[in-house]
Amino acid sequence: MMRPPAPVQYVAKNMRLDLRLIAEMIPERARVLDIGCGDGALMAHLVTEKAVDARGMEIDMKEATEAVANGLAVIHGDADTDLAFYPDDAFDYVVLSRTLQAVERPREVLSQMLRIGRHAIVSFPNFGHWEVRLKLLLGGRMPDTETWSRPWYETPNIHPCTIVDFVALAEMDGHVIERWLAVDERGLKAPWRRSVRLANMFGQQALFLLRRK
């Protein structure tokens, strides 16, 4: 089913960890849509290193303008409303990095991703991490951690979920999980590679590669 990911030749030093891990999953010359592409760091990396046909969507106009000024094919758009306009199978990979928790309808967005793309790559901060659980349990207030750093009244993250939650949604909607991994902010992948429950406890970031059933 899945083409074996090409080994990473070069990793931009200042590229976000989850973006580096995503780049490793995408084969050369793939057609990629990066939703929430920001200023296009991942796209630029994929274009130069893997000759990928990269398109992007970004809701922040400043970032979108930056990406276009860098010669990237980025549109100002909203994942909640604008994915519906792409045809089926337009892409090999549709990427949504650290954005799922901020969209209005995450379930619909996931389904759209797997309609317009053969694969979906989703990364999100894990709300099941032990620190989050502990802060809520002991302090009784919304957790304030390195990953979840904005107060509840101004966070854009309106739909936080845990790794277990995400696995359950994928199962419910019939999305096949091809690969997954959980990492902490420093990029250490072990030791909870095999166990979803352990990953849910110790992983700060989760990364899923999905495909249609």
């Binding site: 106009m61 979108a64 000024a69 010669g71 990237l72 094919a73 549109i75 045809p87």
Partner: protein, 382 residues
């Protein structure tokens, strides 16, 4: 003032295409004259050409002093050495549109019969109805004449943007990159309505003489001036007018209940009176009608169809306070391009300057367009 004579003719650089052009209306214009200017140097394999398409009242003098007004080129802040459309690297062409009044075939030029013989009088209102696609076909004939198979980019704002879309839809293999700016895929009822006010003003001026004003040597100055004043309001935003003029009075601090007290009035009158010295009333009628006819979806059997399988990459840009061609129109275009799986970039520039913003110093727009053109050139190995 009412006795203003027609402006003295200027010699424009132009190409004569003997076979002429068959219009959408079925009529033939023979020979076809295309007046054009170019900047920069065409490279050996003729792959670095960029076509700029001008707006309703623009012309081919995009990046140089205008021969009749003496003003700098209308896009001199964007096109030139080291600028976003870099004439040190690219061969930039701009042609006066078909129906225009700066040397291309149009109402002010000598009328010809079907065999191309001159009839010793201007076309006037006998100039046939034309479409945006006719304008683009005329430009294509010029580009072919120059031996250019594919344009690196076609760029234009407002009516120029309509031509860009028509280029991409009609000659997709000839356009590597397309930048339709501050435009729409069709002219809305509101757009048509404003144009109709302008046309009515021209036609109700007794000096218009039913379109035969060349016989008197006068021009329908009042009508054309009012047309320009109305149009000019649509090019600005309310915020821009307020910022520029507010309710400021002319040379006084208190209302005197005399005429012409507000600064915005004299500004509009000035806009109107300078316009009549450089533009032809019958050209204004012809070109505004061509814009009104424009509807890409109807022409090509649907918007997505107009672009299906397109090899062209697009940059769509709109301006937040533009109510003549609002961002919603650009978004409709972007969605159609997405549906066609086209490679498209889209940004809305935040500005209070209205539709006019596409001509003004908008750094974000200039950076984005520069990046888009440079990216296209890079991908073509230029």
């Amino acid at each position: 003032m009412n006795q203003t004579a027609a402006p003295p003719p200027i010699e424009h650089q132009r190409t004569v295409l003997r076979d002429g052009l068959r219009l959408d209306s079925g009529q033939l214009i023979r020979p076809l004259h295309v007046a054009w200017r170019s900047y920069g140097t065409l490279n050996a394999d003729r792959s670095n050409a960029i076509l700029i398409c001008h707006a309703l009242t623009g012309d081919q003098y995009v990046a140089e002093r205008h021969p009749s007004t003496g003003k700098p080129g209308w896009w001199a802040n964007l096109v030139g050495p080291g600028l976003p459309v870099d004439t040190d690297r690219f061969f930039v062409i701009c042609a006066n549109v078909l129906g225009g009044c700066m040397g291309s075939s149009g109402p002010r030029e000598e009328m010809t019969d079907a065999d191309g013989n001159g009839l010793g009088r201007p076309w006037g209102t006998d100039f046939p109805s034309i479409t945006i696609r006719d304008m683009v076909r005329a430009q294509k004939m010029l580009v072919d004449h120059l031996g250019i198979d594919r344009l690196l980019a076609v760029i234009g704002g407002s009516m120029g943007g309509m031509q860009v879309l028509e280029w991409a839809a009609t000659f997709p293999q000839s356009v590597f990159a397309a930048a339709p700016i501050a435009c729409a895929t069709h002219h809305s009822a509101q757009n048509i309505a404003f144009h109709e006010v302008g046309r009515a003003a021209i036609q109700s001026d007794p000096d218009w003489m039913g379109g035969r004003y060349w016989e008197t040597g006068r021009i329908p100055e009042r009508g054309l001036s009012v047309a320009r004043m109305v149009a000019h309001i649509t090019y600005l935003s309310e915020a821009a007018l307020t910022r520029k003029f507010g309710r400021e009075l002319q040379g006084g601090s208190a209302l005197t209940f005399l005429e012409d007290v507000f600064q915005v009035q004299s500004y509009l009158r000035h806009q109107g009176s300078t316009f009549v010295r450089r533009f032809d009333a019958n050209s204004y009628l012809t070109i505004t009608r061509a814009m009104d006819y424009f509807d890409l979806a109807t022409e090509h059997g649907g918007l997505a169809k107009a672009f299906s399988g397109t090899p062209t990459r697009f940059l769509v840009a709109s301006f937040s306070s533009d109510w003549l061609f609002p961002t919603s129109e650009s978004r409709t275009l972007v969605r159609a391009l997405n549906a066609a799986a086209a490679r498209v970039s889209f940004i809305e520039i935040t500005t209070d300057k209205g539709h006019d913003a596409f001509l003004l110093d908008e750094p974000d727009f200039h950076r984005a367009l520069g990046g888009f053109v440079a990216g296209a050139a890079r991908d073509l190995g230029l």
